[in-house]
Symmetry: C2
Subunit: 248 residues, 2 copies
């Protein structure tokens, strides 16, 4: 499994992904799931991937080939982020169909993959889109300034509580790491190293950070969050007054 989240705020974009892949619990590997593509000063794209590893690798390879070969359709030629998401969805769909044709030897097997693509093309603002396994895509809204793929539920509540369009990149980045921490704690198949990418609006430069399992900041964040949550819980109004039982 995988967990990836991308956030858009007025200040820019934040991307966060884990690096664990598994086929059953005994075949666990580490693969980054964050890919960066750029035309310096012109366009920046980050792609996050989840799902079948063979599919996601094949899709990323095709995206790279199209760039290298100056293909008519590539991340260099797409007029906007929505078209780039359609292009990515089309490649993903083709790659899945190649292996999972309904009358072929793999009929019934699933090679599904999901992607988040985000970035900025000059003269447009930064944007995000999530590409479904079916190839279509959705974007963020003012009320939901983030997108998730993979094991998304454990880490969703904190995003809902913290993020707005006005959130700074520092807070959005921290929120993504906390969301990742909640997910890792509850699901063994999501794990470090954690990749974090921060893209300030109009910068046309991505800052990438990688947090290993023993990274000092990640450990202090995890420890503080656990401690702060317990304290936050302790300060809630006690239930005891509501009941007739002596609950202590």
């Amino acid at each position: 499994m995988t967990y990836c989240v991308a956030i858009t705020t007025d200040a820019g974009l934040v991307f966060c992904s884990d690096s664990r892949t598994n086929a059953g619990v005994d075949q666990v590997s580490t693969y980054g799931k964050m890919y960066h593509f750029q035309v310096p000063g012109e366009r920046q794209f980050v792609i996050l991937s989840a799902g079948n590893l063979a599919t996601t690798q094949a899709v990323i390879s095709q995206v790279k080939r199209d760039l290298r070969d100056n293909a008519p359709n590539s991340l260099k030629t797409m007029p906007d982020l929505s078209e780039a998401a359609s292009y990515l969805g089309e490649i993903s769909r083709q790659e899945q169909d190649r292996h999972a044709s309904p009358d072929g030897p793999n009929a019934g097997a699933s090679f599904e993959a999901s992607f988040i693509i985000g970035g900025q093309i000059r003269d447009d603002k930064p944007r995000l889109a999530m590409v479904y396994p079916q190839g279509n895509h959705i974007t963020t809204s003012k009320d939901t300034p983030y997108l998730q793929i993979g094991e998304s539920k454990y880490g969703k509540p904190i995003l809902d509580r913290i993020l707005t369009a006005a959130t700074s990149l520092e807070i959005a980045g921290r929120c993504a790491l906390v969301s990742m921490d909640s997910t890792m704690r509850s699901n063994l198949t999501v794990g470090p190293p954690i990749d974090l990418g921060i893209y300030p609006v109009d910068s046309f430069a991505l800052e990438r950070m990688r947090f290993e399992e023993d990274d000092e900041y990640l450990r202090s964040l995890t420890r503080s969050w656990n401690q702060n949550l317990i304290e936050a819980f302790d300060r809630l109004p006690p239930l005891a007054a509501e009941t007739e039982l002596d609950l202590e």
Copy 2:
């Protein structure tokens, strides 16, 4: 959808369930999902239900009929909680099979339901079990002193952080409500009123509370939790020091 959680600690048992059922988003109703059965002074059972409403209602009806008719197998006659869970699973399995036989008119449709059953039989300690749609069941462990059915992921992280065998019933009850709050916030199909049941060990008496949507305690809990979480987040070590960008 539904969210139910049950907790076992050294001090007793806690049960919590929402009351929303839906078949599509336009057919939403309120049904309690917590059922209490007792032989005063002898045995106490609480059943929480999730899944197909027709199945869960039919199962609960059968459990009641068996009690009323003094059937050879009923919650009155089960020697221990594990047998009671098997009995419940058997009824559930039969009820599902009746409607979903593979060559009948409903072939392919799902009538699945899950249950948590908990309680105490005299001379045994309080116990919990979760009954899968397939009819088999699991119980808690020292490290995982809770069971969930329904929409369980949003509310899991707080349970993992707070609950141990030594947790008081007050804290376990509050933790169940906070877990419910996170779930309601992220999933529209889980909603109030919220039923809370608290069973102190060896008491052979269940205290039941119902929190309506405008309940003062529930509202103050929700508001405090949101506020405390934001403060807990604000006190985390800032990410800014980790990066070379000016993120504020």
